[in-house]
């Protein structure tokens, strides 16, 4: 096998590893150009790796309750840079949630910002609407230069 083919073979094998070099995953399943807002009551905070999940019970006009799931970042990032801790949310609290919705239309998305009744605001990297993770877009960066 010549060196380039060997490299390409290794690339395929290490494809999963290469993915770790950007922030976790690309969030391709979320429409990060959109912001949707819902109001509801906290069901749970999963203070977990690789990312936290916030679960909120949202009641529609007919009184039907749907539990939404919102993904954010790692506990370390939210603690060090955004002021969260594992007790930032309590089950039953009223919250207003901004999020980038799932493209599939299911009940959930990438968390942007949570506002609580007592005035607290829990921010995340996606409180900045321009923030994106994921691989470079094809053909853009990465050094294609003549």
């Amino acid at each position: 096998m010549n060196p380039v083919n060997r490299l390409l073979a290794a690339t395929a094998i290490l494809g999963t590893l290469s993915g770790t070099a950007w922030a976790h995953h690309s969030y391709a399943m979320f429409d990060q150009t959109q912001t949707v807002t819902v109001q509801g009551m906290v069901h749970a905070l999963e203070w977990t790796n690789p990312h936290i999940w916030v679960w909120v019970n949202v009641k529609d006009a007919k009184g039907v309750v749907t539990t939404y799931g919102f993904e954010s970042n790692a506990p370390s990032e939210l603690t060090r840079f955004f002021g969260w801790d594992k007790r930032s949310l309590t089950a039953g609290e009223a919250v207003t949630v901004d999020f980038a919705p799932l493209k599939s239309g299911r009940a959930g998305g990438a968390l942007r910002t949570i506002r609580l009744a007592d005035g607290r605001v829990l921010r995340t990297p996606r409180s900045n609407p321009e923030y994106q993770t994921g691989p470079p877009t094809a053909g853009a960066p990465g050094g294609v230069q003549k």
Binding site: L14, G15, L17, R106, A138, G142
Partner: protein, 259 residues
């Protein structure tokens, strides 16, 4: 790209054009940490160091920006390998391979990628060695500062073989034998011939700077240089053990709420 980001990038590039043309590596000067008495005279790097969020965010944006002023300059082989990787990644079947495991983010990114995250790094000094503990992937880097040369035929690994020395208060690390395919930048695999020189120094009471020069004769047309800073964190060490991977490799998430 925002104006702010543009100005940051400009400063970044200006800074990178200063310095030697090739990775300087040789001149030991001052204490080398060969004994505990010698270690006591080395700079204080205690604590946990984390990249400032704004810098991390700007770097991510820069990498995605077609006008990125400091991309790695790829050879034809490098472009081919990068494009092949992107095609692989965009093929849902291949990236969603269950055999790859569901918690892939727990793996180490290897060197140099492990240094670029917004996660914690600790430095431990023992005689003849500096050890770096990294939250990302629970990675350990062993840097031998006892004067030994690189081994003649080292085993490849994700973190490579690191030989270091002190130049005054700067730790200089030369790393090679990095596993073929470990990314030199996100989405760009290395060739197995990558060599990395890092120069680490304190630039303030709670600030460390790492200047990195990457060479890869197969992938890069010229050395790729960049700088990153790290600030001492007031928080403790965070586990990255991955226990709640609901969407793995960009799959539709498991939206089953917890009990």
């Amino acid at each position: 790209m925002s104006k702010h980001l543009g100005s940051v990038a400009a400063v970044f590039i200006t800074a990178l054009t200063v310095g030697a043309a090739a990775p300087a590596f040789a001149q030991r000067s001052g204490p080398q940490g060969e004994s505990y008495a010698s270690i006591a005279t080395l700079p204080d790097w205690s604590g946990i160091w984390v990249r400032p969020w704004a810098e991390f965010e700007e770097e991510n944006a820069r990498r995605r920006d077609p006008a990125n002023p400091n991309p790695p300059k790829l050879t034809a082989e490098g472009i081919k390998a990068r494009d092949t990787f992107q095609i692989t990644r965009s093929t849902a079947q291949s990236v969603a391979d269950p055999a790859a495991g569901t918690c892939y983010t727990g793996q180490t990114a290897g060197v140099p990628g492990v240094m670029r995250f917004s996660f914690g790094i600790e430095f431990l000094f023992t005689p003849g060695r500096v050890t770096m503990l990294l939250e990302q992937g629970s990675t350990i880097r062993r840097i031998h500062t006892d004067g030994r040369p690189h081994t003649s035929d080292p085993e490849q690994s994700y973190v490579g073989e690191s030989i270091g020395h002190w130049e005054g208060e700067t730790l200089v690390i030369d790393t090679s034998a990095i596993e073929t395919g470990v990314p030199l930048s996100p989405g760009i695999p290395s060739s197995g011939k990558m060599r990395i020189v890092e120069r680490i120094r304190r630039v303030g009471p709670a600030r460390i700077e790492i200047e990195t020069v990457i060479e890869d004769p197969v992938m890069l047309r010229e050395p790729w240089r960049y700088r990153a800073t790290y600030e001492r964190s007031t928080f403790g060490w965070f586990d990255r053990k991955c226990g709640n991977d609901r969407d793995g490799r960009d799959q539709e998430p498991d939206l089953t709420p917890p009990k």
